[in-house]
């Protein structure tokens, strides 16, 4: 005990400061009920259009507290309006600070349909945020799932190793193998905690209806999930097609790579035979490499990012299908039991 104490106590301020620099990994996202309601309201009002908004809160140790949020206006392509959007963001932050809302940006939220959120844009936005905020998180809400009585909230972040790769734009097979990164490792899902202030707790307890059945129970016990399944399958099929396209790109790449290699070999053999002939004739041998020859030009390897993202999407649809199917199994058995 004494030895450990003597080890830890005489740390200089600098040491402490530098030790603080090492951020503990983000373990939990703690969301206020207010934020959940706000996100749901915004996403639902504009559904099926996809919307985004900013999350405000505090970064406390390994917990990221999300205490407020505000919606972004629907984005337009026009540049002028984009500048307007930045102004809007500043104005809103200023206003919220005046009523003592935490005004650190900790990330953003966005709505999605059937979980098709894993797009390149998401990663780009993530990288943009990440430049300014060390720890940021993206909350995904799926209004289509909430009709089934579920609460489809997800907190995501990009994994560190993926971010490294993305920064260097290295999505060649070799690098990926080096890092041992597969499509599963792009996104990390962070568990969500929900908090409410004591005041809200008091109000909600008072206001809770007497009825033992709430809307979400009705939604959950709804038997028809066909539409949801159907659109899920449709999306799944689209994704499969995309993936096949990507695969074909790779096949093409490999084919041209091997063709190039055989061409190179042929050229080399020809050159060697020529050199042998020249040697026999007593002439200087020609160099064995010729960078100007088109045969030696490197064929750029296509990026694997897109296929990774598609894989992610497919996995997501599969999960959803599994989940909903599981739910409907229990519903069917319940109905059977009721009928008997």
């Amino acid at each position: 005990m004494a030895t450990t104490n003597s080890n830890t106590v005489p740390r200089s301020f600098l040491q402490v400061a530098s030790a603080e620099e090492v951020a503990s990994p983000l373990r939990v996202v703690q969301i206020e009920g207010l934020v959940i309601l706000k996100i749901i309201k915004h996403c639902k009002e504009f559904s099926p259009a996809l919307v985004t908004g900013q999350l405000l809160g505090l970064d406390v140790g390994s917990v990221l507290e999300v205490t407020n949020c505000f919606p972004f206006p629907v984005r337009e392509e026009d540049e002028e309006i984009e500048a307007d959007g930045a102004n809007y963001q500043l104005d809103m932050m200023k206003c919220l600070r005046e009523v003592n809302v935490d005004n650190n940006t900790v990330g953003w939220y966005q709505s999605t349909m059937f979980g098709s959120f894993q797009q390149v844009e998401l990663i780009e936005t993530f990288m943009n945020y990440q430049e300014n905020i060390r720890r940021c998180v993206c909350i995904i809400y799926d209004p289509s799932r909430s009709n089934q009585g579920g609460l489809a909230f997800k907190a995501l972040k990009l994994s560190d190793s993926f971010m490294d790769l993305y920064r260097n734009n290295n999505f060649t097979g070799e690098k990926l193998r080096e890092k041992n990164l597969s499509w599963v490792d792009i996104f990390e899902e962070i568990p969500i905690k929900v908090t409410n202030s004591a005041l809200i707790t008091a109000f909600m307890t008072e206001l809770e209806g007497d009825s033992p059945v709430a809307q979400c129970d009705y939604d959950r016990l709804q038997l028809s999930t066909n539409q949801f399944m159907e659109s899920n399958m449709e999306f799944l099929m689209d994704c499969m097609e995309d993936l096949t396209m990507e695969q074909q790109k790779f096949q093409y790449y490999y084919r041209s790579l091997s063709r190039q290699q055989s061409q190179q070999q042929a050229w080399l053999q020809k050159r060697r035979a020529e050199n042998n002939a020249r040697k026999a004739a007593g002439e200087e041998p020609l160099p064995e490499e010729d960078p100007s020859n088109p045969v030696f030009k490197l064929i750029p390897e296509p990026s694997r990012l897109e296929s990774f993202l598609i894989s992610n999407r497919i996995a997501n649809y599969c999960n959803q299908i599994n989940g909903v199917a599981g739910q409907s199994f229990s519903r069917l058995y319940l109905m059977k039991a009721l009928h008997d």
Binding site: V194, N196, L199
Partner: protein, 345 residues
């Protein structure tokens, strides 16, 4: 005529008498729970006096002419719908209020439905300063925030304002007047964050103007029915919004389990009730009986074979989907393995 005479000698015994009569008359006339007669001129005794006299005048003139002093025609059936988000917002603002501030004031956004119901869907706090009986709202802030909100959702307009505290207080009339200039017939929502009655008191008011010709004399706050739109909260689940800390969001299957438990409990309740009625322990209630009969009748009548077929078909469909999903996943991992293998070669 008589009013004209009385005005000349204020402070007489008869005046107080008349005042109380007028008071009672107003009260009975509008049949209200909350009655506040607020004159912005009320710190001026002579004008107070003239107000009283005007009321008397009205009484006397009432027999002859109805138009002299009147409450603006009140749309009798106005009610308000309150979405839980607004309550959350208000509570959050209250928790984050400034030092020494006793209450928070803010703007309510929403829309007025065709049937006159005010749908309160959103809100934001507006900073204010309060000295004894003066209230200064930050109007710039209010406008900035309004602009920002309108950018996101132009359909939401100002419908009123809120304040924490129990019931209407002194400064309310002034703020209400300000909001009346922004929107006709604003709603005033009060949320008692102190739980002074020992329960949550959330009330909505509108004002009815008391005027003489073109002159507005006073505003009267009239409570209107308030409907809590808890459907959204129910969709999220009260369990999530009621407790101060929930460690993780319920998954689909967990939610399902909870719902099934509730259903089971309900069925048990019904059983118990029916048993009790049959055995004569409980007085039968025809209405409940009819409900139960309706519910039982709503189950479609199938032959067992047809039902089995239906269930099995459905099960098989789902199984097929699950199978397809797993095959896709297998395919994915296989493709990945092959891709990496191709690279090594």
């Amino acid at each position: 005529m008589a009013a004209g005479l009385n005005r000349d000698k204020p402070g007489s015994q008869i005046k107080a008498n008349i005042y109380s009569q007028a008071h009672i008359q107003l009260k009975t006339k509008s049949n209200l729970n909350q009655f506040i007669l607020e004159s912005k001129l009320s710190n001026n005794p002579s004008s107070l006096c003239s107000l009283k006299i005007l009321i008397i005048h009205q009484r006397m003139a009432a027999a002859i002419e109805h138009t002299v002093l009147q409450f603006a025609p009140s749309s009798a059936k106005i009610s308000a719908k309150l979405h839980p988000l607004v309550l959350f917002n208000i509570c959050d603002c209250y928790v984050r209020r400034r030092d020494q501030a006793e209450r928070v004031i803010g703007t309510l956004l929403g829309s007025v439905l065709p049937d006159g119901t005010v749908d309160i869907r959103n809100s934001y706090a507006v900073p204010h300063n309060e000295f004894s009986d003066e209230v200064a709202l930050d109007i710039d802030y209010h406008h900035n925030m309004l602009l920002s909100h309108q950018k996101v959702n132009p359909k939401e307009v100002i419908v009123g304002w809120y304040s924490t505290g129990l019931g209407v207080t002194g400064g309310s009339a002034l703020i209400h007047e300000f909001y009346s200039r922004e929107v006709p017939n604003p709603v005033h929502l009060t949320v008692d964050t102190g739980f002074r009655n020992g329960e949550s008191t959330i009330r909505a008011y509108i004002t009815v103007n008391l005027c003489l010709g073109d002159r507005q004399l006073a505003a009267q706050f009239q409570e209107i029915p308030l409907d809590f739109r808890m459907v959204e909260a129910e969709r999220v689940g009260f369990d999530l919004l009621k407790s101060t800390m929930v460690d993780k969001l319920p998954t689909d299957l967990e939610g399902m389990e909870v719902s099934m438990h509730r259903l089971l409990a309900l069925i048990d309740d019904v059983y118990l009730y029916v048993d009790n009625v049959v055995e004569g322990r409980v007085e039968p209630d025809n209405e409940i009986g009819r409900f139960i009969a309706d519910t039982v009748a709503s189950l479609p009548k199938f032959s067992p074979q047809a039902f089995d077929k239906l269930v099995n078909d459905n099960l098989q469909d789902r199984l097929l989907l699950v199978y397809l999903a797993s095959i896709t996943r297998t395919q994915l991992s296989l493709a990945e393995k092959l891709n990496t293998a191709a690279q090594i070669l």
